[in-house]
Symmetry: D2
Subunit: 139 residues, 4 copies
């Protein structure tokens, strides 16, 4: 079922998207239609007030969804996000953020999933996103 | 925690929104920050091709979210949906639809939740919605 | 450019979706990548408090987007909504609702558009929706 | 009507959000319920393939909406995004991106707007976002 392990995905991301090294992302866990990505806390993600910024959470959601798609489909560097919807619910704490991505549909053309984000160690969601990915035709 | 039972909510909906009787909704289950609503299958929900229509699923998501808000907050007839985002993922079967609504945040002014919808008896989601409700100031 | 006129579209909708007659929809205007649909006010759309219901506005947005896709693509009865996002901004008045649908992208596989909705005679938007349609492969 | 000019807003953003200097944002134009923000093209926004990344567009949409809210409300550093929905429609070109933000509703508690984004010099939208901002109570 799973075509790439967490270690494969980590290596792929850091090779293909070197700017991700600066974001401090790490793929922690991959299971059937599920992936967990950790974003290490660091000063670049901060907003005034000491909280993790909204754009940092949006980037993280986008990456976590990409990871779960790749895990199930294999290396498809051209898959693109077509829609992202995010609700910001609580002020994140100044700690790592954990993103749990779940694939809700994996069709031939579109993948749909959602991503629940948490401040590390706190069970209340800080943000929730749903995303659609367009999958290129396979030859 | 729960301020209205499934039976209370069923009675409230049918009294306040008599048009819901025509939709065939029934509140089946209420737990902490969770509610399940069933939409009985009938011909008014149909699209050509024999499937349940998108607008029927949107109405159901809206009602299920309202139910879980009421369950936690009590009778607040003036709460209003401010945002709804829905992804349609699979063609529903011509059977009842089950909507599982989960409250992700219950703030003083806004409630955020998501609703997973299934054709009765089939574990794959047919649609997934996230909603925001504005809660009127409490006196 | 335009493959179906407002009159063609009106006839098509009422033939293919007879339940729409009960909703009181009328295609008023079609231009390049634009369509206007009017929803006649009637009691079925009401919520307590005398306002047009959220689900009525969602159905209207869905239909208006379908109309503008059909206008540009021709009769494609199998096109399906894959995503709808709607913000409810003002309480609609107990009058007709006007929906102005604009096609933002018409690709081979996906069409994206937005729909601005107004109470007839009032320039302030009551609701705004964005939608994605999946277009079946053309043989 | 307008409480802050483009120059005021530019100075405010660069003082309060110094990381924005690295993003290359500039407030170009402010009118009643409208603001235009330019994102200068530079290598940090790139994805493999030479296109501007999705997260860069999401950050830009978020900033442009914040700018139009500030323009109408005045300095409210605590206003927060509660919902963002974005459709990515065309691959951006490797040039500046122009974001046109329009305020659709400015209520006491919530502001709703949309943002149209273009590659500089090209009339076709590359992305379209709708956002909701929560406005803190004014004392």
């Amino acid at each position: 079922m799973i075509r790439m392990t967490a270690a494969d995905l980590d290596a792929f991301l850091h090779r293909e998207f070197p700017q991700i090294d600066r974001q401090g992302y790490r793929v922690e866990l991959v299971r059937d239609r599920f992936a967990r990505v950790r974003m290490a806390f660091h000063a670049d993600h901060l907003r005034p007030g000491g909280t993790v910024s909204g754009p940092s959470l949006m980037s993280l959601a986008d990456t976590a969804m990409y990871v779960v798609v790749l895990a199930m489909v294999g290396e498809v560097p051209l898959a693109v996000t077509t829609n992202l919807n995010i609700n910001f619910m609580r002020r994140p704490q100044p700690v790592d953020v954990i993103a749990d991505a779940r694939l809700l549909k994996l069709g031939k053309r579109l993948a749909v999933g959602d991503v629940a984000m948490y401040s590390d160690g706190d069970p209340e969601m800080v943000a929730h996103a749903t995303l659609t990915y367009s999958i290129p035709e396979r030859r």
